[in-house]
Symmetry: C2
């Protein structure tokens, strides 16, 4: 099994590092994929082990390893090499990886490293760094396979042969006019399997799917995924072909965006870190979790204030305490479900701005049904199971009225919370906030407050002898 | 802009359907991508519009449209065609799409449709349907480009030329021995740019990355993404090459798995539906949300029971109600954050079984720091802001002691909840449950109960005059 032999190789590499055994290290590293090398390197805990790794690794394979490392490790790792090795590594990086690497180091180091590149590499790198890291332009590689209008299949193949190692993917070959404007696309197989004097103009297809360099990376990923693309050409506003986004970029974008959504929805602030959970320091974890915890704690005092205001009701019929946490929490749970559904649908590009009223109708109906059925469940439990425990109801408050008050409160809380859970992300988007930010914890806290009010108000209105 | 013209085309198509204008419909449909056609079809609301669509669409392009439709629409849509059109559509589907389509129809329809296929198609389809939809085998296509050991570059190109339309991707060409066992891989560019009498044996690379057909699709996606692959070959336990997983499958897998995680973490039950949010019926939404709501509501009654048991404390110092919801909710929030971090790290394959103790240490330290700092914040608020409102503290209970009790309870609740939030998903995985299932709502409800106990116990222990 290839899988098992890879695991064995990884273990062999780790023990070679531990024993500082150069020979075993180099021969094992040779056989390993750069992604595996990067994860071994990343997990090394002491300085000596990292130095041993960088000193003995084959420089030819290191650029790809470097590109896989988390942002925070990049600068420190590059500094372990002497100047000539740094030059070799930087020059061998693929252009989009190089731009990413240079964006992760300090401004001084960036100038220093830029100066090590060949002039044309400097130019490409500078132009790639102009785009934000999370735009199509920031993600693209300029290594697109491009040929000009009017080229024959034969000379196209000759041109491509020259570039076969420097071009990231020949899955699509783009045809440009003399201004470099994107005019069409074809495939290596079309060129290879056609008479050699055919003009590319005659076998190319329209390049109908492309994206502006300044567009958000999430949109690029959605397009890629919707249209099952192999490569997505990136253009500027004059249709000039700037580069391509490859499918491994798209996988990264999708994982990043999903992680960001999931984290925001749990009240975790700040940029999703590129580092793994275990590699992230306690301080960083703290910084990302503390702000929302504090805000939500302060908000939650409002719930307590409502409890204080309704003291007379609770002290009169203390049995209400039995269902109070449930009514409050049920709102948080159903609101969280609704919010999740709506936020995820927005992330997947399913909800246009025009579908707001459909969402509201759907969640309102759902809220009413969920509220009615859960309300009935609790009424039945109160009427048939609660009496077994001889509940301390004050005189003059019949069990049926008590059950009615609790059920109505639960139903109302669930209906309004379901609707709020759907409305808050939609509202956030309308005012250009990220919908995921207002999700679960914020919604839970808000509907906790309304739950308290609903519960005590229902009790006050329905139960006799409460003033 | 190509993007804009596509939007215009989609609108033109929609109005052609509305006006039942066959000519405009057919000419516009011609220009549109099958993914766009599928989303237009899916959004048609009445039967007449759907019939118009299926009656006038070009049969040559319909198979790809069908493959993009949500599972629940497949059977009904196929039935709109007469038998000869059904045959044409089914025969033109790519093999993995065909297996998916037939897995989505009733058993009787499946037999009926299988009989329409060519004998060799029947065989491939049956063998693909043997694998679960969510395994590597269930996701693969058998259209892998394969050539035998001992073939020259020239004859390899001739073989591939014949299959150039039926083979999903020529990005990797697999080399097999006479038993069909995977021996190596090469690329079209290597074959095209090498002397024609070169044997593939001499230019092929080792096919070191492959996956067993029975492996879970999530593992396939993780491998694909980790190693930046273009195609992932799928093999059986004897190394026979069965097919390949392409990058568009991987995008789908990753989106599906992320959606599933997100939904489970919000207490939404059941399989992630392939339909969009808006296309999912209220009944289905209800079925997915109700079970957890009910379970959590019943669990939450335990919190109420704790409140009942501690009535004497609350009635003596009712001011405790002011912070009760906050202490309880803070535990839910921090527990949810910890659970999210751990579950996501597990989904991304970052946490091996051996890292449990590292996670526990990290979250324990974080829990203590978060608890201590938030506890101090609340103590300060109680000591310096609360007095402004002249709080109703009973005589004999000094404000400082009250602040101390509340802060200690909050700190303890946050520390234990952070730890529980991390431990529950790890525990779930240890007993082979899906970690995401125990997430946010379940954790919130459990730590709500412990929060009540912690709060009242702290009050009882620290505050004077409470018996």
């Amino acid at each position: 099994m290839p899988e098992e032999s890879r695991v064995l190789d990884i273990e062999a590499l780790e023990s070679a590092i531990e024993n500082l055994d150069i020979e075993v290290f180099q021969s094992t590293a040779e056989d390993l994929h750069y992604a595996d090398l990067a994860s071994v390197f990343q997990d090394l805990e002491d300085d000596e082990a990292r130095s041993f790794f960088t000193k003995n690794i084959n420089l030819a394979s290191f650029p790809q390893v470097l590109a896989e490392l988390p942002d925070a490790l990049i600068e420190e790792t590059l500094q372990r090499f002497d100047e000539s090795s740094q030059r070799e590594i930087l020059r061998k990086l693929i252009d989009d990886d190089r731009a990413d690497v240079l964006q992760d180091v300090s401004p001084e180091a960036r100038q220093h490293y830029l100066a090590m590149l060949k002039p044309e590499q400097q130019e490409t790198t500078r132009s790639l760094m102009r785009y934000d890291e999370d735009t199509a332009g920031g993600r693209m590689t300029t290594h697109a396979a491009r040929i000009s209008l009017g080229t024959t299949a034969k000379s196209a193949l000759e041109i491509l042969r020259k570039y076969k190692d420097s071009t990231q993917s020949l899955a699509r070959i783009y045809v440009v006019d003399d201004q470099g404007r994107l005019k069409g696309k074809t495939r290596l197989r079309e060129l290879a399997f056609t008479p050699w004097d055919t003009l590319v103009d005659d076998i190319m297809d329209e390049a109908d799917l492309s994206i502006l360099a300044s567009t958000d990376q999430e949109e690029a990923a959605q397009m890629f995924s919707k249209y099952d693309m192999t490569l997505l050409p990136v253009i500027d506003e004059y249709d000039h072909l700037l580069g391509v986004i490859t499918h491994d970029d798209v996988l990264e974008i999708i994982e990043e965006e999903s992680t960001e959504d999931i984290e925001k929805m749990s009240g975790i602030a700040g940029e999703q870190s590129e580092q793994t959970y275990l590699n992230t320091s306690v301080a960083t974890h703290f910084k990302r979790r503390f702000p929302w915890l504090l805000i939500l704690a302060l908000l939650a005092i409002s719930s307590g204030y409502v409890m204080l205001r309704f003291e007379h009701i609770l002290s009169h019929i203390y049995l209400l305490a039995l269902y109070l946490p449930m009514v409050v929490a049920a709102g948080g749970n159903t609101g969280g479900q609704a919010a999740t559904m709506v936020i995820r649908a927005m992330s997947l590009g399913e909800l246009e701005a025009g579908s707001t009223s459909k969402v509201i109708t759907k969640e309102l109906i759902l809220g009413i049904i969920l509220g009615a059925i859960l309300g009935c469940c609790i009424a039945l439990i109160t009427l048939f199971i609660l009496p077994i425990f001889d509940p301390p109801l004050p005189e003059g408050v019949p069990l049926t009225t008590f059950a009615l008050a609790v059920s109505i409160a639960l139903g109302a809380q669930i209906t309004t919370s379901t609707l709020s859970g759907a409305l808050l992300p939609l509202g956030a988007r309308a005012i250009k906030l990220d919908p995921a930010v207002v999700a679960a914890p914020a919604i839970t806290t808000l509907v906790d407050i309304s739950g308290m009010v609903i519960y005590f108000t229902a009790a006050q209105a329905i139960l006799p002898a409460v003033v």
